[in-house]
């Protein structure tokens, strides 16, 4: 499927970025393979009796493997990206199109650097809204889905309302929420973003909690497990891959919810997020600045997705198909 392909490509990027920046504990693993025997050799040198004629073949450094850095999932889109940017710049220059209509990528880059001081704090505010909303969505989604699986009646009675909450267009309820919470813009933004991000976690986790292997359920029943034990030892672990899938979707959605809410709120409030900056720039026809802000939001979105994927791999790493690479 298209989406699967896309995910694998992004994961490829994530691995590549990780290895490039030496993120987290991946670092020691990404020392070039050929350096390790050398390290071992130098460390062992002092302990070893003076060299005999024949060298241990294991210590010979094999040729460095370039394939790691020539990952086509990474290189191909970079090439396309570069071609696109060059084409864009050339087109803008040749046609002489005014930069308040379409700025070239170089100008956008310059603006990004120049405006970093004003844009970045705004991005942080948006990030704050996103993170708080995402956290609330995660906790509430998880708790409510657990409540749903404890009683069929609760699920029957309340699930439709969760669906209604989901289907109401956020743009149309955001003004209401902002009016109701007019004393606290931040809370209003968080509530909007929460509404958008909450449902995928709820529905995914509910599905997961209910898709327990029925043989294992029987086994728990046979050994007289109580409700609590069944939840902790069986339902929650079974639901983990679904929950993680929900997190991946909701991470991005929280950001979108935050941005939409900021748009609707417009210029109100002193704490202005990145959407506010985009809005202001568009009023002033500062199109390069709009582009710069747009790039920042997109970058943030990708960062959220990649970190959620990494978290998911980390949590499911040892057991779930989605996170393991089979050797066949």
């Amino acid at each position: 499927m298209m989406f699967d392909r896309f995910t694998s490509i992004l994961t490829g990027w994530q691995d590549w970025l990780g290895s490039l920046l030496g993120l987290a504990e991946r670092l020691p693993l990404h020392l070039p393979d050929w350096a390790l025997p050398q390290l071992a050799a130098t460390a062992g040198e002092k302990l070893r009796p003076q060299p005999t004629e024949t060298r241990d073949p294991v210590l010979l450094p094999p040729a460095p493997r370039m394939s790691k850095w020539l990952n086509w999932d990474v290189v191909a889109p970079i090439v396309v990206g570069i071609l696109f940017l060059v084409g864009w710049e050339v087109a803008v220059r040749l046609t002489g199109i005014p930069h308040y209509l379409l700025p070239g990528p170089i100008l956008v880059g310059q603006t990004l650097v120049q405006e970093w001081g004003t844009l970045f704090p705004s991005l942080l505010i948006t990030l704050q809204i996103t993170v708080v909303a995402f956290f609330c969505a995660t906790v509430s989604g998880l708790l409510i889905s657990i409540l749903f699986t404890q009683s069929k009646w609760i699920e029957r009675s309340f699930f439709p309302y969760a669906v209604i909450l989901q289907t109401m267009p956020i743009v149309s309820i955001a003004p209401l929420i902002i009016i109701w919470l007019r004393n606290n813009t931040f809370a209003a933004m968080v509530v909007c973003a929460w509404i958008v991000a909450f449902f995928p976690i709820l529905s995914n986790t509910t599905l997961g909690l209910n898709s327990v292997d029925h043989n294992l359920l029987n086994l728990f029943q046979l050994y007289k497990a109580n409700r609590w034990q069944t939840l902790i030892y069986l339902r929650l672990p079974s639901a983990m891959p679904y929950f993680m899938g929900g997190l991946r979707i909701s991470g991005g959605l929280s950001l979108i919810g935050a941005v939409v809410a900021e748009f609707v709120a417009g210029t109100g409030g002193q704490r202005a997020g990145i959407a506010y900056q985009i809005l202001i720039s568009s009023f002033n026809l500062q199109v390069p600045r709009m582009f710069a802000a747009l790039i920042m939001v997109t970058g943030l979105g990708i960062l959220i997705f990649v970190s959620m994927s990494a978290l998911s791999d980390k949590v499911l790493g040892q057991w779930h198909e989605s996170a393991t690479r089979r050797e066949n």
């Binding site: 043989n215 029987n218 086994l219 046979l222 050994y223 497990a225 030892y233 672990p237 057991w319």
Partner: protein, 265 residues
């Protein structure tokens, strides 16, 4: 004097969708017996086992338990699929029944290791189920069943999904363990040869509605070696069971002549 451990009296089961899975089933299982249930697919073998295990209610009839059983840990169940928790190590999977019974970890570990020893899986404590072969997963599942030291072991086509070589290896291992531990075993299978090789008694069932059509004692001494599988006696019993099964499936017209003595209903 044999002591009955499980007695089914006139047990019927009708599922909510109207399927009559069992009708007036009578069966007595004696202490220490190895009884196999064979029958065509859908004749209610799993239903019987689940009812014995207390998973789901019977529509009419009763199941009585012998007095020799202690209330706790008397039962263990092995499913057709290994039904392991993929997120837990072999050790944690086998420990599960003890954990659910509230036994502290350090006390349970001794039993877990013992149980793994029995099925020949020492050294794989830290492995995850996905790292094991189908046969090894089944062994983990058996170890989990044995860890509570059950008196009655219910097995529902436990080796149905395995290849022939793994199956016959596990057959002889289970048989060896049974002789040592003297559990009462109810073993469901659709494989006649497996049933005859393992059992004291083979109970043949027919479908629609599920019922017992034959109850054939296998009078061959234990231990049963690999040679038993090629013996005349073994062949005779296989033919007998096979004939009964044919009858159960296609009616009396089809059945080939009966060779072995056996009490049938």
């Amino acid at each position: 004097m044999p002591t009955p451990v499980i007695t089914l009296r006139q047990v019927s089961k009708v599922y909510t969708n109207g399927t009559v899975a069992l009708q007036d089933m009578n069966m007595t299982i004696q202490e220490g017996e190895f009884v196999s249930l064979v029958g065509p697919s859908g004749c209610g073998k799993s239903t019987v086992l689940r009812l014995i295990a207390g998973l789901g209610n019977m529509t009419t009839g009763s199941i009585e338990w012998g007095q020799t059983l202690t209330e706790n840990h008397k039962l263990a169940f092995v499913f057709q699929e290994p039904a392991l928790m993929p997120w837990a190590t072999v050790m944690d999977n086998v420990r599960l029944p003890l954990k659910l019974a509230g036994e502290p970890k350090h006390k349970a570990d001794q039993d877990v290791l013992e149980s793994l020893q029995l099925v020949g899986l020492r050294g794989f404590e830290r492995s995850f189920p996905r790292e094991l072969s189908g046969g090894m997963r089944m062994r983990v599942s058996i170890a989990r069943a044995l860890v509570t030291k059950p008196q009655v072991l219910l097995m529902d086509e436990p080796f149905g999904a395995l290849d022939e070589i793994t199956r016959s290896k596990l057959n002889s291992d289970v048989l060896e363990l049974w002789q040592e531990k003297r559990w009462t075993v109810v073993f469901v299978t659709h494989n006649i040869y497996e049933a005859v090789y393992l059992s004291n008694r083979v109970v043949v069932m027919a479908a629609r509605p599920g019922r017992v059509v034959a109850d054939i004692p296998i009078d061959a001494p234990y231990p049963r070696s690999e040679e038993f599988r090629t013996s005349m006696l073994y062949n005779t019993y296989c033919r007998e069971v096979s004939a009964r099964l044919q009858e159960a499936m296609y009616g009396v017209d089809h059945h080939p002549p009966t060779f072995a003595a056996g009490r049938s209903r």
